[in-house]
Every structure is written in structure tokens, then in C-alpha cells.
């Protein structure tokens, strides 16, 4: 799947600005950012599920086929078969009045044309694959009778039912307890590897994304501000926002007390994320950035390749780069 300069606007509010991404088969891409950064909108773009009020521009290609602006019935052919999605709240995504078995078997019977017994066999195999113990009795249960982690596994099984080549997971672990979340992440990684299925893992949780993915895109205010190999970006972040985000995360080095006996403070990013329609025109991060220069608020920084696959959009990096080139 390939996204080239994809923008989504709701009136004057730009939810996504010229996003470029490339997802190779079988790879795992993480999208991180705070609330309102456009990461969910990006996920919906991949599914062709932008709300009607949103205006989409740019190019969305799936296996070389242009899908931007394609009508609903075209997208529907690709959903579930080529791209599937799982959501944050597994309870909300399951019909509470339907047995889990019926929920999982229905699409198999409808889309794949399987007989009831064949659909049942497939459902059992899928449950086995996503690590649901005792799948036979699970099929007869209702969603409220199983735990949150098990519900998320059911949804993953449901998403896998038509063998998609890309799975979009929007905050799949946010509603779960830490231990359960960890196991779900490991499951997604394993499925991606065994099925050669691409995974887009959307989350605000840096630790979860670090564990789940090989590539990462950091978003702020509708822009992808930095992307590259996960270890590279998280290990040596270049964009001021990524640096701030990593510093703000409580970890080992900012814990405990300093030499003066006072507790160590966390690195913070001043201010709060502005509403979409009040974002600065240039770099979205200007106004909160501590290293701001004059051109930041006015001019949009272009993505700059920094080597080793790392790309960041920041005027400071551009200057440093130009300076190094001149000397």
C-alpha cells in the first residue's frame, strides 16, 4: 500500500496534511502521536472509511491500484480481503446480542461462500491461531461472557477471516491491562510474521509501538513529522517533537532524586495540542517548540532524509544539512 501526499480536510480544519507512507508486504509500521494528531484519520484513509464530510486529496494506491476518491462499493471489495481493521474498544465492535460464533462465521459464509460446517471449521482454526483457549465453547458464548483480552482476540480472528494482506490496528491495546496488552502485541507480531501480513499499529503508547513494529511514523497536528526504522527513530530522534515526546515519557533515567535531594523532573513540551482549526500554518509544532526559528510558523518544513531510512520534517535539520553541504 502506498500513500502519496494524502490530505484530509473538514472545512477549514486539516486533519491530515500531505501524508506519504509506503507499506511493504509483511512489514510492521507503527504510527504514534498524541490525541488529535491525525493518526486515526490516517488509519481510516487506509480503509477508505473517511467520514463523508472529509475531503480527501492525494493518492492512495493498493497493490498499484489507485483508490483515492474511489466510491464506496470499490472500497468494499477490498475491505476484509485486502485490508482489515481492529479497534480500541473490542466490546463496542461486537454485537452484544449475537453469539461469538455467529459473529465470526457470518462473514465466512457470506463473503467466502463457505457452508456452515466449513465456516465453523475455519472459525475454530482462526481461534486456535489467535490463541483462544477452548475455541469450541467460545463459539457459543456471548461477548460479555469473555474478558477484554479474549474479545480483542476474537476481533483479530474476525479481521483475519478473509486473509487480508494488511491489518490496521487502531489503539488495539489501549483499553486493556498492561499484561494482556503485551500478549496481544506479541500475537500481532507473530501473525504478521507467519502470514506475511503487513501491520499498521496505531497507538499513543511509545513502548507498545516499539515492541510491535519495525518502522515508525511520528505524527503531530496532522503531519508526519518523523519516520524511519523504529529503533533508529526512538534511539536517536531528530525532530524536536519526537525528542520531547520521548523525554516526557517516564522511564529509568528520569526517575528518582537528583543530587540535591529533589525529585527529578520530566522533560516537558510546553503548552497543549491546539485544536485542528487553530494549528499554525507552517510547522504544526511551532508555538510549542523550544528551538523555534523565524521561518517555522510561516513555512512548512519539507521531509528531509537523514540517512539510515530516517526522515524528519524540521527547518533546523534543513539548515544544519545545508550548512554541512556548503562547507
Amino acid at each position: 500500500m502506498q500513500l502519496d501526499r494524502v490530505s484530509v480536510a473538514f472545512g477549514a480544519a486539516v486533519a491530515l496534511r500531505e501524508a506519504c507512507l509506503q507499506i511493504e508486504p509483511g512489514t510492521r509500521l507503527g504510527i504514534v502521536g498524541e490525541s488529535g494528531c491525525g493518526k486515526s484519520m490516517l488509519g481510516l484513509c487506509l480503509m477508505g472509511m473517511i467520514p463523508d464530510a472529509g475531503k480527501v486529496s492525494g493518492s492512495i494506491r493498493l497493490n498499484g491500484k489507485e483508490l483515492a476518491g474511489a466510491p464506496e462499493h470499490v472500497w468494499r471489495r477490498h475491505r476484509a480481503r485486502d485490508v482489515a481493521m481492529i479497534f480500541q474498544e473490542p466490546m463496542a465492535a461486537l454485537n452484544p446480542l449475537k453469539r461469538i460464533g455467529d459473529t465470526v462465521m457470518e462473514p465466512l459464509e457470506v463473503h467466502e461462500g463457505l457452508s456452515r460446517s466449513a465456516a465453523r471449521a475455519r472459525a475454530l482454526a482462526l481461534f486456535d491461531e489467535v490463541g483462544i483457549p477452548d475455541p469450541d465453547s467460545r463459539l457459543r458464548q456471548y461477548p460479555h461472557e469473555i474478558s477484554g483480552g479474549q474479545r480483542q482476540r476474537v476481533l483479530i480472528a474476525l479481521a483475519l477471516a478473509c486473509n487480508p494482506s494488511l491489518l490496521v490496528a487502531d489503539e488495539p491495546t489501549t483499553a486493556l491491562d498492561a499484561n494482556v496488552a503485551l500478549r496481544i502485541i506479541d500475537l500481532l507480531v507473530r501473525l504478521s510474521e507467519t502470514r506475511n501480513m503487513a501491520l499498521v499499529f496505531i497507538s499513543h503508547d511509545l513502548a507498545a509501538v516499539a515492541r510491535a513494529t519495525q518502522q515508525i511514523a511520528v505524527m503531530y497536528g496532522g503531519d508526519i513529522v518523523e519516520r524511519g526504522p523504529t529503533a533508529q527513530v526512538l534511539g536517536a530522534p531528530r525532530h524536536p517533537y519526537t525528542i520531547g515526546l520521548l523525554g516526557a515519557r517516564p522511564g529509568l533515567d528520569n526517575r528518582g532524586r537528583g543530587p540535591d535531594g529533589r525529585r527529578k523532573r520530566l522533560v516537558t513540551i510546553p503548552g497543549t495540542v491546539p485544536p485542528l482549526f487553530e494549528l499554525p500554518a507552517g510547522c504544526r509544532f511551532s508555538g510549542r517548540c523550544t528551538r523555534e526559528i523565524a521561518s517555522c510558523a510561516l513555512q512548512r518544513p519539507q521531509p528531509l532524509a537523514l540517512g539510515a531510512g530516517q526522515v524528519a520534517a524540521c527547518h533546523l535539520l534543513g539548515q544544519a544539512h545545508a550548512g554541512a553541504g556548503a562547507s
Binding site: F10, G11, P51, D52, A53
Partner: protein
Amino acid sequence: MARLVVRWPARLPVNLMIGALLVALVVGVAALSLIWTPHDHAAMTIRNRFQPADGVYWLGTDQLGRDIVSQLMVAARNSMTVALVAVLIGGSIGVALGLLASALGGWVEDLIMRVADIGFAFPALLFAIMLSAVFGPSLTIAVAAIAFINIPVFARVARASANQVWTRDFVAAARAAGHGRFAISRDHILPNIAAPVIVQGTIEFAVAILAEAALSYLGLGAQPPSPSWGRMLSEAQTLMFMAPHLAIYPGLCIVIAVLGFSLLGDGLRDITDPRLKRRRA
């Protein structure tokens, strides 16, 4: 101090606008009757009975030669007054009981709500007839009866909404601040249940107008010479074939008033109830 935070949708619902228009019409006419009517509503001129509509008597006169427009206008004022007083009294007592039930919980809540259930099951007209039989028919009795039947309605709405508000964190914060149940009910619960109570009040206003008309029709409401839509209807009934307009005009007034307040209530609910709020882009 407390402010009613209602986010007005970009487009107001149609039922709200029509309702508001009709209510404004009825209330405006009722208010106008305080200072001006085309004729004295009670002046009888037998010579001019059953006059057709013309430039002097806009809608004609009745069997006693009284001007119909003037009567309808004063009747509107009477109807509004009865409904307003009855809903205010019934609403205040009902909301107070609902808040009390919600604040105290346990057996007090059960007791209040079961009594309210019984009140709900009691037919309003029957109750009014019973009161009239004991105290004699009068407007006060009609008001009391209508107020009484409103109590359980408001108690239910208030308690249901209040119970939701009690689970909110800001109520826990007020408890942490050191406030007792009654202070919290006054400072936090009441302002936050205002919207559903006002919606209910508007709808109950329509019900009260209808109830007042029914009681007057039975001769248990406003007493002559004070005009009332309900009594105008009952008086016109015997003359139905001779002068149908005598029945049509008060009937139309009742329809307009009841419809207006019902639509207004529905519209208000549409814009204040978050569950019904449609997504706006």
C-alpha cells in the same frame, strides 16, 4: 451563577421552531388580553346573538351575544395561568421529592418512588372530580388537581437524572471538599438536571392545558363568567348544528396551544439530550 450550557445546533429542529411560533402566538394573545380585547368578553347583548363574523365581531358572537374573540383571548390567559401555576407547584414539589429520593437513597428513595408510582396510576380526572365533590368545583381545585398529578412525573424525571449526576466525579469532588448531601443537591445536582426538567415542564404544560380544558368542559374548572376553552366547548355542544363555529374556535385554540407546547418540548429535548444529538460535522 450557574449557567445553562446548551450548545445550539447550527440548524434548529423544525419541531422546535414551529412549537416556539405557536407558543409565542398563544402566550402573546393571552398577554394582550390583559390590556386589550376587542370587546368586553362578558358583555351580553342578546340583540346581537349568533352574529356572523364581520368587522365588529371578528369571529361572531355566541348564544348570549358575547364576542367570541374576546372570550377566546381571556380564556387563553386563564388557561396559561392555570397551567403555569399547576406545573410550577407540581414541578417544584416533584423535583424536590426526586432530589431527596436521589440524595438519600435506600428505603427513603424506595418509599418516595413507590408512592409516586401509585400517584402515576391514579387517573387525573377522577382525582379532580373527587376533590370537586368534597370541596365544590372551583378553579383552585382544578389547579390543585393538575398540580398533584404532575408531582410523580417530575419526581421520576428528577430522580432518574439526579441519579446519573450523582455518579459523576465532580460530585465526588464536592464530597471530598466537605459538602453534605443537601448542599451537593442544591449546588451541583439541581443545575445539572435543569435541562431534562425544563423539557418535561414544557410537555407537562401541554398536558395541563388539556387537563384544564377537560375539567372546564365537565364544569369543574373556571366558573362563569370567567371564560374557558373547555366550557365554551361544552356550552357550544348543544348548539352544534345551529352554530358549529362556536365549538370549532375553542377546539382549534386547544389544539394550537397543546401542539405548540408539545412540539416545543420535543424540540428542546432534541437539542439538550446528548443521546439524541446527531453528529455534526
